[in-house]
Symmetry: C2
Subunit: 337 residues, 2 copies
DNA sequence: ACGGCTGTTGACAACGCTGTCATCCAGCAT
DNA sequence: ATGCTGGATGACAGCGTTGTCAACAGCCGT
């Protein structure tokens, strides 16, 4: 039953050679109209679809790109994948997805697997591990690093200004009078988190406010962990009057804890939009992470590379695209101590 | 630069024939240890990775499955894809994703494209269109229909009890004393929405409450549309005292509108979890849509089929898996008129 | 009538891989 | 020494496609 039609079947049916079938299927002009019609009928009757593996094997090319991110469950990355898929599908590409779960070893496995598929390009949200394997595996396949920097050089990067956006948000909090600002961080050593933390420190430094390391929590990957961290911070003698959450899951946990402990007068700013955050009381102030914009820029960069490669053109020098972020002030970030 | 090593390169390097390389790579026992070592060194030195297209072409099989859903931006489907990817990657499969945007034509295009990739299996959240093309295109590839039923028979289906869960939720509202319950629906004619609406009607019928068609809104695909629909319902002389939202985006819109118009005393139940919904005031009562469970069941069913196919076994009869849902009562659904 | 063109078609190889079958050699029994 | 067995290895075809090159017919001009 699994017998799909091949060029041979079509050729036999139409009474021509396989080469003529190939010509018709590929829209070559040098076929007589009558012949073309016979072939096209045969194609339709047999529901012939070219075998992409044979195509890829022969040409060494694929219309497939890989997208490797932390997790599809993360709304940020889900949005990235959604938009990249949309743009690339429109250009005739199919998208292979893989999740790293932030595990460097797993990232390597997934990328190697994709490389075996001879993908035409790769979008990677890198883990914080050694990426020297990439050069060996990719053999010049266009690579776009998204959302983060890593130890890969000479490749396109699309990211946001983690440092600047965080710095601005924390400066806002300080301007509102806060002096004890908690940092709800992420246990991983990802550069994004590092940059956000640097922004947090820089804001303090520039404003002449001392940082209390006791207010920095690096164990809040998930919502419940952030809630616990927040709850424990609330028990301090001089508890923080404001919370900066490194990512939306953390913010959700912090908000949860503040609500549970009836401490919603304390300020909160989230890095990344939280669904329904505008309906909370107070409404949540967020740095809009703009996954659509990042994805759009990523898809654009990748498509440019793919077209360059297709045309056999010399690749233009790699570029770093920085998507600017804005603070959406909705209330929770403007509370005073 | 794009020259990846082939069996020939490895064979030459190791001073053996390509067949021996093949044997070593595939872990065949009948190779002398010394030869194997030489080949393995060559493999390592040349960073040889088998060409999956050649493999697929030769064997007619692939370790790739397709997942086609409405949109990756939808948290429900993102979660489905995330879990399916996780389970299938663990079994050595790679996942091709594609979004239909609820467009039947687009679904067909995407599925045909995936079929051209000779995927080993397909997970499909079908649009509300004609699916007769599937048989022609799939040629017996295992197909798992997820979340919805459609005009395909004789295939595995994994879905939830849309009718029963909705009926129960609406019965709850009626038990709380509500007689005017709005239905915030989805413009599409998807069977899920149909079933939910049937549940809504059935609850009314069984409780002897008359349905007012003026309270049914079918134009609320997105959050802002649901917010508008809700706002307009609030202007009615006898405005609904409760709202049943067919999907989380709708619920978010309804909640938004109720908050804006300071009408949060009106009851709301959402079909599908809303992030942070438990922090709203009142906290949102939801029917938990359980994407993880659905995805788990889907992956299990598909893997069973894939293993059956791999072993050349006779396929067992197709099964329908029904994931039971529960109502999470958190406040907004228990408000009285 | 002949060479040369053009327009249409086909034979064949090759892409990278593995299954089939053949080959070769050592070791052993006769 | 002879034949036989079995272990290790290799030659080759073919999966479905398209690029290369060749073939062939019909038509033109001379």
């Amino acid at each position: 039953m699994t017998g799909r039609a091949t060029v041979y079947d079509v050729a036999e049916r139409a009474g021509v050679s396989i080469k003529t079938v190939s010509r018709v299927v590929n829209g070559s002009e040098e076929v007589k109209a009558a012949t073309r019609d016979r072939v096209l009928s045969a194609v339709r009757e047999l529901k012939y679809v070219p075998n992409s593996h044979a195509l890829s094997l022969r040409s060494g090319k694929t219309r497939t790109v890989g997208v490797v991110v932390d997790s599809l469950s993360d709304p940020f990355f889900a949005a990235i994948v959604a938009f990249v898929e949309q743009k690339l599908a429109a250009a005739g590409y199919t998208v292979l997805v893989a999740a790293t779960n932030r595990n460097g070893e797993r990232e390597r496995e997934q990328v190697v697997a994709l490389a075996g598929h001879h993908i035409a390009g790769l979008v990677l949200a890198p883990t914080n591990s050694d990426h020297s394997y990439l050069a060996d595996v990719l053999h010049g396949i266009p690579l776009v690093i998204v959302d983060r920097t890593c130890d890969v050089t000479g490749t396109d990067v699309v990211k946001v200004d983690d440092f600047g956006a965080t710095r601005q948000a924390v400066l806002d909090l300080i301007a509102s009078g806060h002096r004890r600002i908690a940092f709800i961080g992420d246990s991983s050593a990802l550069p994004t988190n590092h940059d956000r933390h640097e922004g947090y420190l820089s804001a303090h430094r520039d404003a002449g406010v001392e940082v209390d390391p006791a207010l920095e929590r690096w164990d809040s990957n998930e919502t419940d962990e952030a809630a616990e961290a927040t709850a424990s911070l609330l028990t301090l003698d001089d508890a923080p009057t404001a919370f900066f959450a490194c990512h939306p899951r953390g913010a959700a946990g912090t908000v949860q804890a503040l609500h549970r402990h009836r401490q919603t007068h304390r300020a909160v700013i989230s890095f990344g939009e939280v669904l329904l955050g505008d309906l909370l009381q107070p409404a949540l102030t967020v740095i809009d992470h703009l996954p659509e914009r990042i994805a759009e820029a990523t898809a654009d960069v990748l498509l440019r590379r793919l077209i360059e490669a297709e045309d056999g053109r010399e690749p233009s020098p790699p570029a770093e695209t920085l998507v600017p972020l804005t603070l959406i002030r909705r209330g929770s970030g403007e509370l005073t101590p």
